[in-house]
């Protein structure tokens, strides 16, 4: 049987969803996770405290959420660029709000769906960073230099998690496989993480990278990716770095374990455990169910190349100062 014939057989197999409950396999025998898996906005990172340890919404709560989404969609469809106020943000019709789901928080462990407490040394670090100003978070008007703005404004990267946690735009994720390698492409700032599966050791701990150094292996039908060698200049967040309520800064000791499992023909569960004892008092885990969408087109996000905002923010701040002295 030729390789091409095997390939054809495989393709037919992939077209029959949930084929006897089996996970499809690549022509070379790995579980096949390939496809376009855009994120779905709308589940908060942390669970509202009132919901306690409840991981899913009740029927009534879900109905309310759906009604809200319907109302919002109607408002969005009526909004136009012209009627929105001038500002840095997009008009509301442009925003991806996602399809309502019952999941009450992306954080599934600890059981209360909330971030564990910061360690005392991390609390001190966050307070004292940059001479007491703290790490750059949501931009609040101070712009003495480009590094007063977070890595999101600077278009550096959103890191492994910030690139996959769903936000209001650029939620495309694509998985590609070849023998011995998996690539995870994120639309958010054009990432393409090449993950070797050949059991090689991590690079030297001297080498530090925003996206870390990833190694993958299969546990049954689950792709397990362990990533180390992070920098401490990155942050975990739904909007890149340090927005209110975001996990924010992590240390260079972060060990990230991602687990990707196809749970049905159209759902890929993305689970990530954040183990960074310098920053959080215990490990915590996110669950992001990704829905297959073959029609989604991943476009090139040339964030830095088109970053007019940075020059405008800084030069605007200088112009304001000039005006005040006149």
């Amino acid at each position: 049987m030729s390789a091409r014939f095997l390939f054809l057989l495989f393709t037919i197999g992939a077209l029959l969803p949930g084929l006897s409950g089996q996970v499809p396999k690549t022509p070379w025998g790995d579980p096949d996770l390939q496809g376009m898996w855009p994120g779905n906005m709308g589940v908060p990172l942390q669970r509202p405290e009132s919901l306690g340890t409840r991981a899913t919404l009740s029927d009534a709560e879900f109905a309310q959420k759906e009604a809200q989404a319907k109302k919002q969609a109607q408002a969005d469809s009526q909004s136009t660029a012209a009627s929105d106020s001038v500002g840095i943000g997009p008009p509301s019709y442009w925003v991806e709000r996602g399809k309502p789901t019952r999941q009450t928080s992306l954080i599934v462990d600890p059981p209360n769906g909330r971030l564990p407490p910061l360690t005392p040394e991390e609390q001190k670090l966050r307070k004292e960073a940059r001479g007491g100003k703290g790490f750059p978070g949501e931009w609040r008007g101070e712009a003495n230099s480009y590094d007063d703005l977070n890595i999101y404004y600077r278009c550096i990267t959103r890191g492994v998690l910030g690139s996959i946690i769903p936000v209001v735009y650029n939620n495309g994720n694509e998985i590609l496989q070849a023998p011995g390698v998996v690539i995870i492409r994120n639309e958010m700032i054009h990432e393409a993480r090449v993950i070797p599966l050949d059991g090689r050791p991590h690079v030297s701990s001297t080498i530090r990278q925003y996206m870390g150094d990833s190694r993958g292996h299969w546990e049954g039908n689950t792709l397990v990716i362990e990533t180390t060698n992070f920098t401490d200049k990155d942050a975990i967040g739904s909007n890149g770095a340090g927005y209110p309520g975001d996990p924010g800064h992590h240390s260079a000791d972060l060990k990230l374990t991602e687990r990707l499992t196809r749970v049905d023909a159209n759902t890929l569960n993305y689970q990530a455990t954040i183990d960074d004892p310098k920053t959080w008092t215990r490990p915590w885990t996110l669950l992001i169910p990704l829905k297959r969408d073959d029609r989604y087109q991943l476009l090139e996000y040339a964030c830095h190349e088109g970053n007019i905002a940075m020059g405008d923010i800084l030069s605007g701040a200088r112009a304001d100062e000039q005006k005040k002295t006149e």
């Binding site: 030729s2 390789a3 091409r4 095997l6 390939f7 690549t26 022509p27 070379w28 390939q34 496809g35 003495n144 230099s145 480009y146 590094d147 600077r154 278009c155 550096i156 990267t157 694509e174 590609l176 496989q177 070849a178 023998p179 390698v181 690539i183 492409r185 700032i189 054009h190 990432e191 393409a192 090449v194 070797p196 090689r200 050791p201 690079v203 080498i207 990278q209 925003y210 996206m211 087109q297 991943l298 476009l299 090139e300 040339a302 830095h304 190349e305 940075m310 020059g311 800084l314 030069s315 701040a317 200088r318 100062e321």
Partner: protein, 259 residues
Amino acid sequence: MRNLVHLTIAAALLTVSAAAQTYRPPRAPDGHADLSGIYEALNTANWDLEDHSPQPGPMWQTGAIGSEPAGESVVEGGTIPYKPEALEKKKANFANRRVNDPEAKCYMPGIPRANYMPFPFQIVQTPRGIMFVYEFASANRLVNMGKPEEAGSDTWMGTNNGHWEGDTLVVDVTGLNGLAWFDRAGDFGGKQLHVVERFTRVDPYHLNYEATIEDPTVFTRPWKISMPLYRRVEKNAQLLEFKCVEFAEELLYGQFKKK
């Protein structure tokens, strides 16, 4: 001595081209030639596609480190067939290269430049298409091997449609935004840039790379570059991260900082 070096190079090239006629590359799972691996150019094309003498770089402060080695042209026929006004623009680009070269600004390098920058890149052949992942600026592109897609909006890395001609991967690149340069000498294409690339594995360690470049707004006729790309054979060779935005911020925004 110099002649001997040239002779040796000529002999090596002959060997490569002779091998190309007989070499049958290993097969990927879909039966096509397996080009996957990490490659890097070993020439001075990123300094200047055309013949060039050794000369200072744009920054005297970096001394010999930032200066330009001599190199022979990778352009078929030696020179790029610019229209007169485009040649003037290339010269202006060169004069202002320290601040205007998109490489200095950490912009995505575009095609063809991404393939011969002094950084490795990885080819991964997948059932969804052929991925090119570049270390420089995390640039990447997925070559569609299915029904050709029309370019949507212009991008830095283009709309990439590929097909096989025997064991040669041919990539047709359109939808390029015309903002990228081809090298540090200021060579450039325009809004109608169209690049057809050919990747051929000529032996276990080399790809032959050819690109035909056309843009009637800039050039008088299509022209071609060619060069070998070398496989990175180090044990555990892998792409590392070169997110260079923060290395370019002072250059781009330093003028706007609070004094």
